[in-house]
């Protein structure tokens, strides 16, 4: 498809949708996924997910929730230097989106997206140790909190300048395209990042070269304390059309809706059709950091979103529609809880880094390639057999 045709196709998508809702979910909060064929689709059509896939989605969301709860406890105990940042309420976004990734795909994961690190193979002890500045953390104490990416798992870690990683992701996708490799790059960012010029530079370039990249926009309603209405006049997902690729809006608290949008976007990217911007409507249920009392959030708004907790929603769906019983889900929860406890103990056992290493490693002695990440989706096991 020529570039000009892409614009027409997008216009058609928009026509099919009518005017998009400003924040990615319908007015009554019903989950909506739109995936490029012009037809709104009920969330979680899910024919691509096996029963075990669904258990995995639930498990990784739980792992994120319980690990962050554990990290918050460590913070309150004074074991975490600096502050603490979590993605409570946003678990469905990082887990659902990263679940589509194949081993050789690459990621730049942001600070509300712990689930994506777990899906790709980072164990919670390395996350917790990173928060505590321990040598067993992913960065060995060089960087803190969520500022990490495990090189060996194909992840390049974020910096505090949040839109920056979109550019790096675009560069990785450029490499895949230049080498004619069927690989994709995925990154995450909040709606706050969309106000920054770097975000535009990344989108524009990805559109020009139809790069194999999936942009996951988490609209969690606030950039620190700044609400959507002071961040943009027009929902940023609509900008995708002007960059020459589709923008789709999904319920970011519905893990299968996120998965489905990411699946379509990843297939599109892998087959050479270019990028997709997926806006996931969600809510940051905690403050920007643990130091933030989020007094700027209207209580009614928090209350409304708390009725739509992504883990609770998915638990209900698994029971109501997919034949899970509550005992089984409780068992999964217990297993994950025990695993996180073990990981926390391991992290607490990890020593602080030796001061001597502070001045080491500024320069590379040789090029070390990124390794491959884990892929949890059953489709990849099938492909490996094939």
């Amino acid at each position: 498809m020529k570039r000009s045709d892409a614009g027409v196709a997008n216009a058609r998508i928009r026509e099919g949708e009518g005017r998009p809702e400003p924040r990615g979910a319908t007015a009554n909060g019903e989950p909506v996924a739109r995936a490029g064929n012009g037809q709104p689709r009920a969330a979680g059509t899910g024919e691509h997910l096996t029963r075990e896939d669904r258990a995995s989605l639930y498990r990784y969301m739980l792992m994120m929730r319980l690990s962050e709860e554990r990290a918050l406890t460590l913070y309150k105990q004074g074991k975490v230097p600096g502050s603490f940042y979590d993605g409570c309420g946003q678990e469905a976004v990082s887990v659902g989106a990263s679940f589509v990734l194949g081993p050789r795909d690459r990621t730049c994961i942001l600070h509300r997206d712990l689930g994506a690190h777990f899906v790709r193979g980072v164990a919670p002890d390395r996350y917790l140790a990173n928060y505590m500045g321990r040598s067993g953390g992913v960065t060995g104490g060089r960087d803190g909190n969520m500022h990490f990416g495990d090189r060996a798992l194909g992840s390049v870690g974020m910096v505090s300048m949040l839109p920056d990683m979109a550019q790096v992701t675009v560069g990785m996708a450029l490499a895949f395209k230049m080498r004619r490799e069927p690989r994709i790059a995925m990154t995450f960012f909040g709606e706050g990042s969309t106000a920054n010029g770097q975000w535009h530079e990344a989108m524009n370039f990805a559109g020009i070269h139809r790069l194999p990249v999936v942009f996951v926009l988490e609209n969690n309603q606030f950039a620190y304390s700044t609400p959507n209405q002071l961040e943009f006049a027009v929902d940023p997902v609509r900008r995708a059309e002007t960059y020459g690729f589709p923008g789709v809006s999904v319920d970011g608290n519905d893990v299968e809706a996120v998965f489905e949008a990411a699946r379509v976007a990843a297939d599109r990217a892998r087959s050479g059709e270019g990028p997709t911007l997926i806006e996931c409507a969600t809510m940051r249920m905690h403050g920007h950091g643990a130091h933030d009392d989020m007094s700027y959030v209207p209580p009614a708004m928090l209350e409304e979103w708390s009725q739509r907790d992504p883990l609770e929603l998915y638990r209900e769906r698994l029971v109501d529609a997919h034949g899970f019983d509550t005992d089984e889900l409780d068992r999964i929860r217990t297993e994950v809880k025990e695993y996180v406890d073990e990981c926390a103990a391991k992290a607490l056992d990890s020593p602080m880094p030796e001061p001597e290493v502070a001045t080491e490693g500024v320069f590379a002695e040789r090029f070390e390639p990124l390794g491959d990440g884990e892929s949890r989706w059953s489709r990849w096991a099938k492909e490996a057999v094939r």
């Binding site: 690459r106 992913v138 960065t139 060089r142 960087d143 500022h147 990490f148 990416g149 495990d150 090189r151 390049v156 870690g157 910096v159 505090s160 300048m161 920056d164 990683m165 979109a166 550019q167 790096v168 992701t169 675009v170 560069g171 990785m172 996708a173 450029l174 490499a175 895949f176 230049m178 790059a185 010029g197 770097q198 530079e201 990344a202 524009n204 370039f205 020009i208 490693g361 500024v362 320069f363 590379a364 002695e365 040789r366 090029f367 070390e368 390639p369 990124l370």
Partner: protein, 321 residues
């Protein structure tokens, strides 16, 4: 050996590396069919195709950021800033992402940023700067500044093969005015090694880039026994070569076109004071631009940028001390 301009040697080094290694590619504004604002990549698009000689939109953060992404995936991007001054628009990606990735997470970023720098042609405050000190203040970046045609090629080749981000400052005033013998085929100038541009015993001028030529000319016109040490790499500095020359001659003038405060000259002077103080026969002297933006009008620009007469005067004063 063949005689080339400094600019021709940059092209030659880049072309040879692109022929040798297909993971090397260049990207920047107007570098494709147009051949770049200074024609360094003239004819490259024809030889290597538009994908490896990638015209980008006017977006310096994108140029640097996409280079980082491509580099971590094993390509070797050579990014061109149309003028070194424009790195300010790509600074975030350079100092926060590229420079720190290896320290933070062991991710190597083999990329080169070509930075046409320097004044002397009424480019004004935004087309004349020598921003090398900005990069040295950002640990994780290597910084080179060739003075000769041979080193323009040799340092570029080394920069491309290095597994770290390297800022390659190419002085625009040398592009077509400096010519020299350049080895054909593979030619490497190792990073981190200074060279003696002119031998002498009475004093040392420690310089890089355009100031090397001023120093050599001054020494010749004064007909004095002056050593000129060409730093070539500014980060990491060749401390041993600096100290050895300072100890031997006992008098040091540090010279560069960049502004003075916290510049390379300040670092070199501090190094010598700390480690070779007792061998000095005179206070270390600096010849640099004063701490002002580079002005446009020729009379103002000449008043700011170090001139040959300034170099001669500084040498005379130091010799007479």
């Amino acid at each position: 050996m063949s005689e080339m301009t400094y600019l021709g040697a940059i092209s030659d080094g880049l072309r040879e590396e692109m022929r040798r290694d297909e993971s090397v590619f260049c990207l920047g504004e107007d570098i494709g069919e147009f051949g770049g604002a200074f024609k360094v990549t003239d004819g490259f698009a024809e030889e290597f195709g538009s994908e490896r000689v990638l015209d980008t939109p006017l977006a310096e953060n994108l140029i640097i950021g996409a280079s980082v992404g491509a580099a971590v995936e094993g390509l070797k991007p050579v990014a061109e800033m149309q003028f070194a001054d424009f790195i300010s628009c790509g600074f975030d990606q350079l100092v926060n992402v590229a420079a720190k990735l290896h320290y933070r997470q062991g991710v190597s970023v083999p990329m080169v940023v070509r930075l046409p720098s320097g004044g002397g042609f009424s480019g004004g405050p935004f087309h004349s700067q020598n921003p090398e000190a900005w990069f040295i203040q950002s640990p994780g970046l290597k910084v080179v500044a060739p003075a000769t045609a041979a080193d323009a090629k040799g340092l570029l080749v080394s920069a491309i093969r290095d597994p770290n981000p390297v800022c390659y400052l190419e002085h625009k005033g040398l592009y077509r005015h400096v010519k020299g013998e350049v080895p054909e085929g593979e030619h490497i100038t190792p990073l981190g090694e200074a060279t003696v541009a002119k031998e002498g015993d009475e004093m040392t001028v420690i310089a890089y880039g355009s100031a090397v030529h001023l120093a050599v000319r001054a020494a010749e016109e004064l007909n004095e026994d002056i050593e000129v040490l060409d730093l070539r790499t500014l980060c990491p500095l060749d401390s041993e070569a600096i100290l050895a020359s300072a100890r031997r001659t006992g008098k040091v003038l540090v010279a560069h076109e960049a502004t003075q405060s916290c510049g390379v000259g300040a670092e070199v002077a501090a190094l010598i004071s700390e480690r070779a103080f007792e061998d000095l026969d005179a206070p270390i002297k600096r010849l640099t631009a004063p701490d002002v933006p580079i002005p446009f009008s020729p009379t103002l620009e000449q008043a700011v940028l170090p001139q040959l007469d300034d170099m001669k005067e500084a040498c005379r004063e130091l010799l007479a001390y």
